[in-house]
Structures are given as structure tokens and as C-alpha cells.
Symmetry: D3
Subunit: 72 residues, 6 copies
């Protein structure tokens, strides 16, 4: 009965979030050898100004190597 | 000093959420034999599109047997 | 599909923890008007030395008004 | 900078847990189009007696359709 | 690789939240003797009506001794 | 009524964990201008094999620049 919690920056397209949930749920079912119906998943969006590394919010950082452009 | 975290679909009426918090806090105090003032409770609302079972968000499911009609 | 997370000091008897889970799950089903089978509950035990108020772990505090005596 | 939190019943083999972490991290990197080095993952094991559905701990339930046999 | 999660009432000024994140991250680096770049921090704002003590939401309480006046 | 949750690798000395809790609680009281008695803090220890970056558990990584030597 795994519970998967995903925290990502807010602003991803709905389709991408939905695909993310689907893919990790499938991975859980596959690896743990359980029916996918047993897998629960909750996604939370975090504003970049509320997520920090090194004491500095990501809203004030440049993430290099990030292939996806945020829509907001 | 129990901490209770409640995660529910967003859209419940304020009165219902307040009653939910009150009831579980009372249950905690009663069962654990502690003053209710020691009980902390945080409620979080999760959009149905961010909560999934079996890889499929609840926004795309029909929950049978659910007696309460959401207001949004 | 509420998810309830309970955090308590470690050391409560198994029967008390089980009753706690049962009671809050029943409260959820009753207040939210959903089948109790939709209610998930996860309990976590926290050592008193890892839980603090005012910067001081509860392992170094006396909790007044606490009717229950810990077995360890 | 996604953060993935996995909660599963305790008792899975180390190799299975490691594979689980690897697979969901790969899914995150792939779907979100980010370097896998940006993906953080924390796994927590929950005893079956502390995880309940319908107010009843899984330690007292039989999970049908579960292909994997627990080693303890 | 500490992960720090901060939950506060919503409504604090952005500067205060930023300073809060900075200060606890610095404390982590200092005490744990690690580079501050290893410290992750996520802040979550909780509406006062969703945070309760003693079964009563803080939106219906008066917090004595609280020096800061909320802007909303 | 801030709630601070600290997750660190397991194996730090008790004194270091206690100091960590104390320091972040003081920072919270100072920055948020609230009595320190309002600050709650919960620390959780995560085994290195259950915490991963890039899909690889830290138990299989070398953390450069880490000044503190783990005792286990």
C-alpha cells in the first residue's frame, strides 16, 4: 500500500504532472509487485520562493541544466 | 503532545472541516488520556487532480459510495 | 479519501495506538460522510528526545496534567 | 528539484527498496526533463500495525492480489 | 543533507519568510558542520483556520505574547 | 505556532541533535518575533540507504566537503 508524495516547483503543465504521477505509480507497482490500484500518490506544488538550497530560495537562483521552461 | 495531520480533497465546507478537526482532537485526548490542549492538528486540502490512486487522479475517477456532494 | 497522519511519543501500548487509529478513522468517516474503508491512517512514534517545544526536547521536560504513565 | 517521499510497509528486501528509489527517480528526471542529480528521494518504512485502512491496521488484514511475499 | 520543513501561519511578509529560511539553514550548516549548500529547506504556509490546538482553529483564538502583527 | 521538521542522516551524536533543535527554534522565535515556547520541532533520522540523490542512496556515495565524521 505504498504512499508516494511528490513535491515539485509550481508551474508545471497539468499534463506533465499527470504523467509524473502515472509513471511513478507504475514504477511502484512494477518494482514492489503489487496491483497498481494499491498505489496512492499525492503531488504538492511548492512556490520557488518557499524552496531553498543553501539558505537561498530557488526564486533567486538559476538552475543550470534544466531543460524545461516554466510557463510562469 | 500528539500532532495530527489531516489531508482531504479540497472543497469541503468550512463547518465540516472545523468539525473534523474538533472530532479527531477530542478522540486523541480521550484515547491518549491527555488534556485536549496538548493536541495539535493541521489540515491540508489536496486538489483532486493532485491525488491519485492506481496512477489516475481522482479528478478523473468516480468515487462510488461517497455520500457527500462537493460544492466545487 | 482522507489521509490521517498521527504522530505521538513512542512508548504507548499497542492497544492504545490501535484504538487511537480506530477512533480517528471513525470520526473521519462520520464527519466527512464517506465509507470508513476510504480512510487511510499512518501512525508514527517520535522519541521524546526528538520532539521539542521552546527548543527543549520533551525528554527533559515534565508534562503536567498528563494522566497516562508511559511504560518505557 | 523534486522531492519524492516513498512510504512502504517495512520488511522489503534492501535490493527492492533500492530499485524502487532508482526507478521513481529516473521517472522524475525523464518526465520533468531535469538532470537526475536534481532528484531527491526519501524512503520510510511503516510497520503494518501502524498503517490502517478503514480503522483496521494492515497487520490484521489480508491483502489479496499482492504478489510479493514479505520476509517478515 | 538535512531537509528542513517549516510550517507557519500564512500572512508573514516575504522578507520575514526569506530571513527565516536563511537563518535556520545557517544554523543547520553551523551545528552539523556541513556546507550550507547541502541544506534544503521547504516552507509551507498554513491558514489559521486549518491549524488547531485543543480542537479549536487558531483563527478563533487570540495568541497572547505574539509581538508580530499580521498584515492579513 | 511554527512547526519545524528536521530530517538528517542517522548517527549524529545526541548533543549535536539537541543543539540543532535548540538553534533552529531560537532562530524561529527571533525572526518571527514570537515566544520560543510557541515553537515546536520534530527531528527524524533517516538511514543513508533510504535517502537518495540522483537515484543513488547516500550509503553508496561519498559526500565531499563534509566536516563531520559519522560514528556509524
Amino acid at each position: 500500500m505504498p504512499l508516494i508524495r511528490l513535491e515539485i516547483f509550481e508551474g508545471r503543465p497539468e499534463e506533465m504532472k499527470k504523467e509524473f504521477i502515472k509513471r511513478v505509480s507504475e514504477a511502484a507497482a512494477d518494482v514492489l509487485k503489487i496491483p497498481i490500484e494499491h498505489v496512492q500518490c499525492i503531488l504538492t506544488e511548492v512556490p520557488r520562493r518557499h524552496w531553498a538550497r543553501g539558505g537561498v530560495p530557488y526564486s533567486e537562483k538559476k538552475l543550470e541544466g534544466e531543460g524545461y521552461k516554466f510557463t510562469r
